[in-house]
């Protein structure tokens, strides 16, 4: 869930801040405490009495939970007392997210530390929440799971739609948390490339959740070489290095979604627990805007995952569109005809606690996700020091990535050459690599280099068939269905590589463009520095040893440049 006014902090301004004394907050039955914590400040929350849950995941009594850079809500079904206290501010984000560097930040002058309890930027108690609805959705799904099992069908496949900041991911978490609490094992699919789930932004993932969701750290953590206090989750990760699923008419996105769905169905077929529980699909808010192509994309997702239930949050218009298109239609599952399984569309209220997350906050979230991928949880948690033996509530694990130098020529780096819809707004893109026309899958070297040279020589890039509904492009695409807008980077190493991410796919370096696009990924490299003359790049790899000889995909547009991860 998102809350507002989050802006980046300048931790230096906090140096003399005296932490507020712990505050006790009493919540009555069925109310929730909404709070926002800026990046760079820490708020600790302890459940003193009663029961409380954060997006469906129950808080343990008397454990201290640490929050930073988050906007969330703690709900109680039975009433509870929370103790909120301020943690020391920390400055690891300092270099990562320089406060106020983004001109759009309106409150750049204020510090991240707010005046709320425990130094929350904003915090209040709300009586009205849609939790009854959300819980009932869970019970309805549970009903469907029981029925499905009795009739030998798969568990319900749920698609969650809604505009940006409507609480889609929060609802996903709630449904997931309740399902795991009931002993189920849902497969949670994140199709939102703007925000990662158990991975960095720009990824589409699928994860089977059996254990608790991490209270403090979003969804939790993907596997590490060491142990983790909260069981790690094993995600299957695909890379979609663009924020908008509609890029290239959705062709890239659709391809990856299909592949992801295939894997999920494969897992469902073999994993009894997951089959009984079903799937929960979280989507990007942009999909719910009324744009041409969006409905088609939703249809694609509905078909690929054989969706049975569409939950629409906070948009009447989208709800009516969905009703028109899907309600009571048979599902795409193979057994749908036999069992007469039909899609149902349900409208849900948006929580009053949903707040717009501004661009600066989202940027900080993304950077924090990337940082966490390489370095672990940056929050210095005193809990871990104090309770070294029972440091269960802390996810504070420091990871040590390995820096190394790679020979650019030995790498097979691919880049999506899709002209962004917002091309003109994209301020940093001097190299203009992204404006190439489509290349045939696995196109031969000669042609590639020809193209490349062509582009190098011409000052004005050729922009054939820019999107926006250009018919020439769609015809070109249908003519060559295999065409994937992936192009191999050729030497010299573009300086634009610096400070961006490279995804290591599971595909061989010589694989075709389609294979590279469809391949799941094994991890990310962060390019710290590029030496074009010597053809060397300096990278940060999560795992030591030789970087696997696999095809790499450049996350040039997305998640884009992350400054200061190293050094």
């Amino acid at each position: 869930m998102s809350l507002p006014g989050l802006d980046l902090t300048t931790p230096s301004g906090d140096k003399e801040f005296v932490p507020a004394p712990p505050t006790q907050i009493s919540l009555s039955k069925g109310s929730e405490w909404r709070f926002e914590v800026a990046f760079g400040t820490i708020v600790r929350v302890k459940l003193l009495a009663g029961t409380a849950e954060l997006f469906g995941t129950e808080l343990a009594p008397s454990q201290t939970y640490t929050f930073s850079g988050t906007k969330a809500a703690i709900y109680t079904w039975h009433g509870c007392t929370l103790e909120v206290s301020a943690g020391e501010s920390y400055s690891t984000v300092d270099s990562l997210a320089p406060g106020g560097s983004n001109g759009s930040t309106t409150t750049a002058t204020t510090t991240g530390r707010g005046l709320g309890a425990g130094g929350c930027q904003s915090e209040y108690t709300a009586e009205e929440t849609p939790m009854v609805e959300y819980a009932n959705v869970h019970f309805a799904l549970e009903t469907m799971r029981q029925q499905a099992k009795a009739q030998g069908r798969d568990g319900p496949r749920v698609l969650i739609l809604g505009p940006e900041d409507a609480g889609k991911t929060s609802l996903t978490k709630i449904l997931t948390a309740y399902a795991t609490k009931t002993g189920r094992q849902p497969i949670v699919v994140n199709l939102d490339p703007t925000e990662g789930m158990l991975s960095v932004p720009g990824t589409l993932t699928a994860t089977a959740f059996r254990t608790m969701i991490d209270i403090e750290e979003g969804w939790g953590s993907s596997p590490m070489s060491g142990p983790s206090a909260v069981p790690v989750k094993l995600p299957l990760v695909y890379f979609y290095p663009m924020p908008n699923p509609l890029e290239a008419e959705g062709s890239v996105y659709k391809g990856i979604v299909s592949r992801l769905a295939l894997s999920v169905m494969g897992r469902m077929a073999e994993d009894e627990d997951s089959r009984e529980t079903g799937i929960i699909v979280d989507t990007p808010g942009i999909l719910s805007q009324s744009k041409a192509g969006n409905v088609e994309l939703i249809k694609h997702i509905v078909t690929e995952f054989a969706i049975t239930t569409i939950l629409v949050i906070g948009s009447e218009r989208l709800y009516s569109t969905m009703m028109k298109n899907f309600d009571n239609k048979p599902t795409a599952s193979a057994s749908a005809v036999a069992s007469d399984e039909r899609i149902s569309v349900v409208k849900l209220s948006k929580s009053g606690g949903c707040v717009d997350r501004d661009a600066a906050f989202m940027k900080a979230v993304r950077e924090s996700q990337i940082r966490t991928y390489f370095f672990g949880n940056p929050i210095p948690s005193t809990a871990s020091a104090a309770l070294s033996l029972s440091a269960a509530s802390t996810t504070n694990v420091t990871l040590s990535p390995h820096a190394q130098q790679l020979d650019f020529n030995s790498l097979a780096i691919y880049n999506y050459t899709v002209a962004t819809l917002e091309e003109d707004e994209d301020e940093y893109d001097p190299a203009q690599f992204g404006t190439d026309s489509f290349l045939p899958g696995g196109g031969n070297e000669a042609e590639l280099s020809q193209n490349y040279q062509h582009e190098e020589s011409s000052a004005t890039p050729v922009l054939p068939g820019l999107p926006g509904g250009s018919s020439s492009m769609s015809t070109a695409e249908t003519a060559n269905s295999a065409s994937v807008p992936l192009k191999k980077l050729l030497p010299p190493a573009p300086t634009g590589l610096a400070n961006s991410l490279l995804a290591i796919t599971h595909a061989a370096p010589t694989a075709s463009a389609t294979d590279v696009r469809d391949a799941s990924i094994m991890g990310f490299l962060y390019v710290a520095d590029v030496n074009s003359e010597r053809g060397k790049i300096q990278v940060l790899a999560p795992v030591g040893g030789r970087v696997p000889p696999r095809a790499l995909v450049w996350g040039k547009k997305w998640p884009g440049e992350v400054v200061g991860l190293v050094g």
């Binding site: 129950e58 039975h78 009903t143 608790m212 991928y373 033996l389 290591i504 094994m522 999560p542």
Partner: protein, 653 residues
């Protein structure tokens, strides 16, 4: 003097520690045992504290406290056995009467161990002297017999009431059950309500409808029944209050239970002040009887109420006129309110159909109660009405509500004067929900209805909570096992985290599609063997990396100089001797002896293509090892678990 003072202090400290003991926490209990052991000179004070604590603590916390006693008498012994033994009968029985049936089973088990010598001890005497355990046991047996009798009586009721349940609401107009059909001429059975004698069980009851009688028909019998026996009513209310008190004790945080108790107490007060009119009394009685969980009769009711067996032929003429109001009374809203106010609260649901049985007492005792002049509407009555405890004022005084549902009364009531049998705490409804079918429709209207009983399946039903992460488990045996495994998992993880803090960690590579599809999520509450197995599959090749160290083949360097200089037959290189701290000897790393010859293990593997470390050849992958994520893995290291074979097979070669 000084020792007395110290004793007080020790006792006070001990009392405080005991108060912190709210769950069955092994650690806390052993701690308390150690304290007791270190303070044997204050054994008397501590024993008294323990006894007091067990007496006063809420039922849910009695078991852990008794476990402390158990632990102390078994681990420490003598002075405590003596002191605690003195009052053990009272302590034990007091606790036993107040706890739920599951806890009782625990107590039974514990009691059984007290009859035996301490396991592993040389002393062959039982934990407690046999006199003590025997007296408790015989009391328990008596109590059980009584409960059994009750149960039999109840099952007979059920047989009897089953027929009635089948009859629709306005049953006095409808056909009586088939059973009675046979005994009465059809003509009368149309009109005469089942005033039958049922031979099957040997008891005869007036059927529910006519017992409460508020019918206008001027038969003498009916007239008598119209008189309400105030004392019987009072008795009923007292029983209800007792039940409510127990509920309140078990569930004192629940405002509705509290409210209910208060309402009942007020009602009692009003009755005793004789403020009610006959009409109101009837209402009250009917409602009370509807609320009553069970007749307050320790023996089969038929025996106490012999009068009923006299043939009541045609005692009640048909009363068509009342069927309408009756049905109005039974409007579902009120019923729901009633059930909500009473049943949903961890409280034995009043089996409504028993309403028909209960009023026998008033009927038969025949003490006429003078009609009290109509008092102004008491505010309490209004409150009761609002709560659904009384029907609306306008409702005519007819038979009490007879809900169609057949919620069997599985709960014997507290029987004063006997060893108490407390109703088990878990609500039958909630259990039905988890075990049975949920039925929540996914549509806009349905999802707006609050369903607190369902929320309870996420919280109260899983009352066994992990203190570290908040995970909940059922309070069943299986839940306990799971929790134990879960706690083991926490323990192992914490250990591993301490170890891991010393070395650098890193993010693992993500798995590929095939591994992901094959992987199974390892829970933190599974058997170790299970987690290992699933961990291995989930981990893919990574487990190799971890395994590589310990499983790397080596042999002791031969002493024979000639042998020592013999090169590897495959690569023709000599072996290198290294000193191994572990083995305390010179060893050859990466060497394997096949027959009489010694090879480099890697060379040998290369040649035979089935090396012990196949992933080494898949160079990058092996290095890149995926997650060490996985739980319980350390256990796998070095052990020759069966999982290893599996693992090797699943590895991509």
């Amino acid at each position: 003097m000084s020792s007395g003072l110290a004793s007080d202090e020790v006792a006070e400290d001990y009392k405080n520690s005991l108060e912190d003991l709210t769950t069955n926490d092994r650690f806390q209990i052993s701690n308390l045992t150690v304290i007791a052991k270190e303070n044997t000179e204050h054994a008397m004070a501590i024993s008294r504290v323990l006894e007091n604590h067990i007496r006063t603590t809420p039922p849910a916390q009695k078991l852990p406290a008794l476990y402390v006693v158990d632990s102390i008498v078994k681990n420490v012994g003598t002075p405590y056995t003596l002191f605690l033994g003195r009052n053990m009968y009272q302590t034990f029985m007091n606790a036993y009467t107040l706890v739920d049936s599951q806890t009782r089973r625990k107590l039974d088990e514990m009691l059984k161990t007290w009859k035996e010598p301490v396991p592993g001890s040389l002393d062959t005497r039982p934990v407690f002297p046999p006199e003590i355990t025997r007296s408790i046991e015989s009391a328990l047996i008596k109590a059980r017999t009584a409960a059994l009798q009750q149960q039999q009586a109840r099952s007979q009721h059920e047989i009897l009431t089953r027929g009635r349940n089948g009859t629709p609401l306005g049953w006095s107009n409808t056909q009586p059950p088939a059973q009675t059909m046979a005994r009465y001429p059809p003509a009368s059975s149309q009109t005469v309500p089942v005033h039958s004698q049922r031979n099957g069980a040997g008891h005869a009851y007036p059927p529910s409808g006519d017992t409460h009688v508020a019918r206008a028909t001027p038969t003498i019998q009916v007239q008598q029944r119209l008189e309400i026996d105030l004392s019987a009513l009072n008795r009923d209310i007292e029983a209800l209050i007792a039940t409510a008190r127990v509920d309140f004790a078990n569930n004192h945080l629940d405002p509705s239970v509290q409210q209910r108790l208060k309402a009942l107490l007020d009602l009692q007060g009003i009755l005793q002040r004789h403020e009610l009119t006959q009409e109101q009394l009837k209402l009250v009685r009917d409602q009370v009887s509807a609320l009553a969980p069970k007749p307050v009769i320790p023996v089969p009711p038929a025996q106490t109420v012999p009068a009923v067996s006299t043939p009541p032929v045609a005692a009640t003429p048909p009363t068509h006129t009342h069927s309408q109001p009756l049905q109005q009374l039974l409007n579902p809203g009120m019923l729901a309110g009633l059930i909500k106010a009473t049943a949903a609260r961890q409280q034995p649901t009043p089996p409504p159909q028993l309403a028909g049985i209960l009023p026998q007492i008033p009927v038969m005792s025949n003490t006429p109660h003078p009609a009290v002049p109509a008092a102004p509407e008491n505010p309490l009555i209004a409150a009761l009405r609002a709560q659904g405890l009384l029907p609306p004022a306008s409702a005519p005084p007819t038979a009490s509500t007879v809900p169609p549902s057949n919620i069997a009364s599985a709960f014997p009531l507290i029987v004063p004067g006997q060893v108490r049998y407390t109703p088990p705490i878990p609500t039958p409804q909630a259990q039905g929900i988890t075990e049975g079918q949920l039925n929540v429709q996914l549509n806009t209207a349905s999802i707006k209805i609050p369903r607190h009983t369902l929320i309870a399946t996420l919280y109260e039903m899983r009352s066994n909570r992990c203190g570290t992460c908040g995970r909940r488990f059922f309070a069943t045996e299986e839940g306990k096992e799971r929790k134990a495994r879960h706690l083991d998992w926490h323990f192992r993880t914490n250990q591993r985290m301490c170890d891991a803090a010393k070395r650098a960690q890193n993010r693992s590579w993500y798995v590929d599609e095939r591994d992901w599809i094959k992987s199974r999520e390892a829970g933190d509450d599974q058997d170790l063997a299970e987690t290992e197995a699933s961990g291995d599959t989930a981990g893919g090749h990574d487990s190799n990396v971890a395994k590589k160290g310990p499983s790397k083949p080596w042999i002791r360097a031969p002493n024979d100089a000639a042998l020592r200089n013999t090169p590897c037959p495959i690569c023709q290189e000599k072996f290198e001797s290294t000193w191994s701290e572990e083995v305390q000897d010179w060893i050859w790393q990466d060497a394997t002896k096949v027959g009489s010859r010694v090879y480099h293990a890697s060379c040998y593997a290369e040649v035979t293509k089935e090396g012990p470390n196949p992933a080494n050849r898949g160079a990058p992958l092996a290095r890149t090892g995926t997650p060490d994520s996985v739980l319980g893995k350390r256990k796998a290291e070095g052990t020759n678990s069966p999982g290893q074979n599996v693992r090797i097979k699943t590895e991509p070669v």
